[in-house]
Assembly symmetry: C2
Homo-oligomer: 199 residues x 2
DNA sequence: TAACAAGTTGACCGCCCGGTCCGCTTATTG
DNA sequence: CAATAAGCGGACCGGGCGGTCAACTTGTTA
């Protein structure tokens, strides 16, 4: 294990502003936001970005890692809830709310390379599966959906809402509600296609 | 009106291969696919692309125009169907199937500038509104959803399925079915957010 | 406070993109 | 078949990107 000495005070401060600036910039402009813009927003030089994060992808990975971790923590907590259906809905609410801003759904795509991201993501996926299993056992969701389905549907409400030009910030709630109604057992019609196995 | 003389035979052929190649390339790689790659795939020089389409955006607009037109035609036809609920579901099926490949949802974004695209799109939107109104009158969908909701949800099944690495080509059917179940009146829970007005 | 390592910076590099341009090719036409 | 213009192609351009580097500044430590 590499025991790294603590960052210098100013360096630590810069690192924080950089992460915040990058999160904002990515949220507003998507992953195409330029490193130069992020640096400007954080009030540092471009070189500083690359001192803290070897590549742009590493910067993205650092942010995604945080988000996934928060999400996983929330999920773990919700596993304790008595009502598994409400717990699942709340998990999806947290997931959507966390990135209510523009599409951060790169959560799935980003850091396909980065091992750490892959690890934490797998962990979060396992939590989701457990949440779904509990909800299914309590007949709070239809019997024919899987954890993978929910993982895939997780980002859909934000995606849908993102097409509205000047959308109110919580428009996604509307579409989460519609989709969640589609997950309930009442009035469910059989699904025409089996669930995907991977992802 | 500008009466343009007919294209030369080879030029017409090139135009067709170009449109096909561009559609494929965009479908596979998204809108970031480079003009050079499209030209190569079509077996022509890069200059030829710009002879037929003044800018890359114009090329995109030409493709999107076709797609929207097809969609609108299908919608018009389905307005005649007796069962408005089934008609709406089939419309969404056509919409998803048409771009079963990777995200062509730029349907909404693309050609925000192009007047022709805007016109045809508005027309298609009107058709969707009529399909939804008919379905609502027949109680085939819940009372609290609007045409705009369906327009927004239209691309969601493909979006969701696109996250699965080697997804079977019609995985979207599964998610369309789930979402459509959420649109039915049976077991509908009240929506927490009013529908968007624009878009 | 002196000395050093850690951190910062912006000019710079190579790359790839959309778009231009002009010399060449070729379908069309009488 | 000759003449012509429509069409073609690829070298080229400016710009913006991610990433590098060497000269400079600054927090830290004894």
């Amino acid at each position: 294990m590499t025991t790294t000495r603590p960052l210098r005070a100013d360096a630590a401060r810069n690192r924080r502003s950089l992460l915040a600036a990058a999160a904002d910039e990515f949220a507003e402009r998507g992953l195409d936001a330029s490193v130069a813009d992020i640096a400007r927003r954080a009030g540092v030089g471009k070189g500083t970005v690359f001192r803290h994060f070897a590549t742009k992808d590493d910067l993205i990975a650092a942010i995604v890692l945080d988000r996934i971790d928060e999400l996983n923590t929330a999920g773990q907590r919700l596993l304790e809830a008595a009502d598994a259906g409400t717990a699942l809905l709340e998990f999806l609410t947290v997931a959507a709310h966390q990135r209510q801003q523009r599409d951060l759904s790169f959560l799935h795509e980003a850091g396909g390379v980065n091992a750490e991201v892959a690890r934490v993501r797998e962990e979060m996926y396992r939590t989701v599966h457990r949440l779904v299993d509990r909800a299914r056992e309590q007949d709070a969701v239809r019997a024919d959906i899987t954890g993978t389905d929910i993982i895939l549907l997780m980002c859909a409400p934000n995606y849908v809402a993102s097409y509205v030009p000047d959308a109110p910030p919580d428009l996604w709630r509307r579409y989460l509600a519609i989709i969640f109604d589609g997950l309930r057992p009442e009035g469910a019609h059989p699904l025409p296609h089996p669930p995907p196995t991977s992802a």
